[in-house]
């Protein structure tokens, strides 16, 4: 009754355990609707809000005073919907882990891929790649739409202008990094609501809270937090950064360090905790 035509020869066309685990995670991600809804919101809503804010700027441009016009930065002004993309992809990162704990799927996943580090690494690859892709799509399309609008007032920049492409690429990278950060929090907390609150709150709240603190305190702490690092990464790049961590590369280094640290903690705990 269970007789099969299964033979060893048909196995193992994917050789390394990681590539198999990756393929499994990719199949999982592709086979649920929520992935597509998440990407739909992250990309289309992000672009929509970006276009809307760019259009708003153009609409009031003639009424702006010269000093207000001087503050205008064509790159960030075209990616005003970034926060939507960031938050959506963070939720995505959290859910890739916590939804498995909520449904009990994690037990099946671990029976197929018993190495905790292996499973989490495979998930991280998928999350990072998907978020990076979504981030890049949103950022570059928003930029294109925004600059087309700005061109009507002759205030746009070109992607070939110095620093523009790299500035946009950094934003896309930031989306990827932040989603990994959220995934690591998901793996540590293992509960959806808690992890989402902690990840998004941890990224956005310190700026608000530290805004009430004296500037000297804010300057000492904020750059080392994920939110501050994220800010430093985004264009426009600080012209003459007072410290290394205010520079885009400094911000990226700090954000990467956060991701590595939280991910290491998640792996450490995953290998010790009961599933």
């Amino acid at each position: 009754m269970t007789a099969t035509t299964f033979d060893q020869g048909r196995l193992g066309y994917l050789h390394t355990s990681l590539s198999r685990a990756l393929r499994g995670e990719l199949t999982k991600t592709r086979s649920v609707r929520s992935t597509y809804w998440t990407l739909f919101v992250a990309v289309l809503a992000g672009i929509g809000v970006s276009a809307l804010t760019a259009w708003g700027t153009v609409a009031i441009w003639n009424d702006l005073k010269p000093e207000e016009r001087a503050d205008f930065e064509a790159v960030p002004a075209s990616t005003g919907g970034l926060l939507i993309t960031l938050i959506t992809m963070m939720v995505f990162g959290v859910l890739v882990v916590t939804s498995e704990y909520a449904s009990g799927q994690i037990r099946i996943s671990l029976s197929a891929v018993p190495g905790r580090s292996m499973l989490l690494s495979a998930k991280a690859c998928v999350v990072g790649a998907v978020a990076l892709g979504a981030g890049a799509l949103m950022v570059f399309l928003s930029f294109a739409i925004g600059q087309a609008l700005f061109a009507t007032k002759d205030i746009g920049v070109s992607i070939t202008d110095p620093g523009v492409f790299w500035g946009l690429a950094r934003v896309a990278l930031a989306v990827g990094l932040v989603s990994l950060l959220a995934m690591a929090v998901g793996a540590l907390v293992r509960h959806t609501a808690g992890a989402i609150t902690l990840a998004i709150g941890g990224l956005l709240l310190p700026q608000m809270v530290l805004g009430f603190a004296p500037d000297s305190v804010e300057e000492k702490i904020l750059p080392f937090l994920p939110g501050g690092a994220l800010g430093a990464m985004q264009p426009p790049a600080a012209k003459d950064p007072a410290t290394w961590m205010d520079s885009p590369m400094g911000g990226m280094a700090i954000l990467v360090a956060w991701v590595v640290a939280l991910f290491a903690a998640a792996l450490f705990l995953a290998n010790r905790r009961d599933a």
Binding site: T2, G24, K28, S31, S111, A112, P114, D274
Partner: protein, 326 residues
């Protein structure tokens, strides 16, 4: 082959499994029995490397589960039939598992066919009935055509047809030389399915023997006799050397064969409405675990184990298998 040596697991102060050692051999269906909360699921989780043992080891084919390189090729298991992402189709669920172990896509269609799910393979599992979920869990277990199979309460909540399907499947798997471990808290179910029994209670081994042996070891075997002439028959049987208990409802006769009872009744022209052997694992199990049931109910009905069941300091939570008089 599953081997468990001195396995112990504490969750905080709770000792879920305590110094458990046994082997599960290939070619037979091994029943893994114990009342609710005895530690069956914990033991299976430890075998699968989901939890880390406090002491001791659990190995599959000589290695800890976490060290298996293509685990689904060696072990198939179903712990909780409902544990999967509801938004995925049955096929996608199996496909992800197949991909994670490097199995070809064709194998997914094979197990869908094998478990009778081929027609609903594209449906999302959210809408599956318990029976269909159970089949999907079994499809996942069979995916890698493994030599070791492990099912936690596979017949729970199934209709008779589903129960029979699982019984036949377990039997077939064992006949193919696989190692089959099936847990249950229902002795009556295991009696017909398992060749070998491992009984645990409160995380400790109570019995590890053949099913027949377990039934025979039971001191609760008796023959039920229903007759309107219970007083006269009772006296006759006792006179002939049998041990008779019970009242007008039924006589419980031990130390005498059915044929002798029937002959005796016929000789004295006494009507007999029922004459049936009552030997079951249920009683054997109750007897074995009576002193160790974690959550014990205050027993109000006439039960074989009344004299053993004392009030429990842990409270009065109803113990499911308690109503096991048949």
């Amino acid at each position: 082959m599953i081997e468990i040596t001195e396995l112990t697991k504490h969750y905080g102060k709770t000792r879920a499994v305590n110094g458990l050692s046994f082997q599960v051999r290939p070619g037979v269906v091994t029943g893994f029995l114990g009342p609710n909360g005895a530690g069956k699921t914990t033991t299976m989780r430890l075998i699968m490397g989901l939890d880390r043992p406090t002491h001791g080891t659990a190995t599959v084919n000589g290695r800890p589960y976490r060290q298996l390189r293509t685990p689904l090729r060696e072990v198939g298991c179903m712990l909780d039939a409902r544990a999967f992402h509801g938004g995925r189709s049955a096929r996608a669920h199996l496909l992800a598992l197949a991909h994670s172990n490097g199995f070809p896509q064709r194998r997914v269609d094979e197990v869908l066919e094998l478990t009778g799910l081929a027609s609903v393979g594209r449906k999302r599992v959210k809408g599956f009935s318990l029976g269909m979920s159970q089949r999907l869990g079994i499809a996942a277990a069979l995916l890698g055509d493994p030599g070791v199979l492990m099912f936690d309460e596979p017949v729970n909540g199934l209709d008779p047809e589903g129960v029979r399907w699982i019984r036949t499947l377990l039997r077939a798997c064992a006949d193919e030389g696989r190692t089959v471990l099936v847990s249950s808290h229902l002795m009556s179910e295991m009696e017909y399915t398992a060749d070998h029994m491992i009984v645990i209670a409160r995380g400790e081994l109570v019995a590890d023997c053949g099913t027949k042996e377990l039934v025979e070891r039971s001191s609760q075997r008796y023959i039920r006799v229903r007759t309107p002439e219970h007083a006269r028959l009772s006296a006759l049987l006792t006179e002939a050397g049998a041990n008779v208990t019970g009242g007008p409802e039924e006589l419980r006769v031990t130390r005498m064969e059915i044929a002798q009872i029937a002959t005796l009744a016929a000789e004295h022209r006494l009507p007999v409405h029922e004459l049936s052997p009552q030997s079951s694992l249920e009683e054997a199990f109750m007897e074995l675990t009576a002193d160790r049931v974690e959550y014990k109910a205050q027993v109000h009905h006439q039960s074989q184990t009344d004299h053993r069941t004392h009030g429990d300091h842990r409270g009065q939570a109803a113990y499911e298998a308690q109503g096991g008089t048949r």
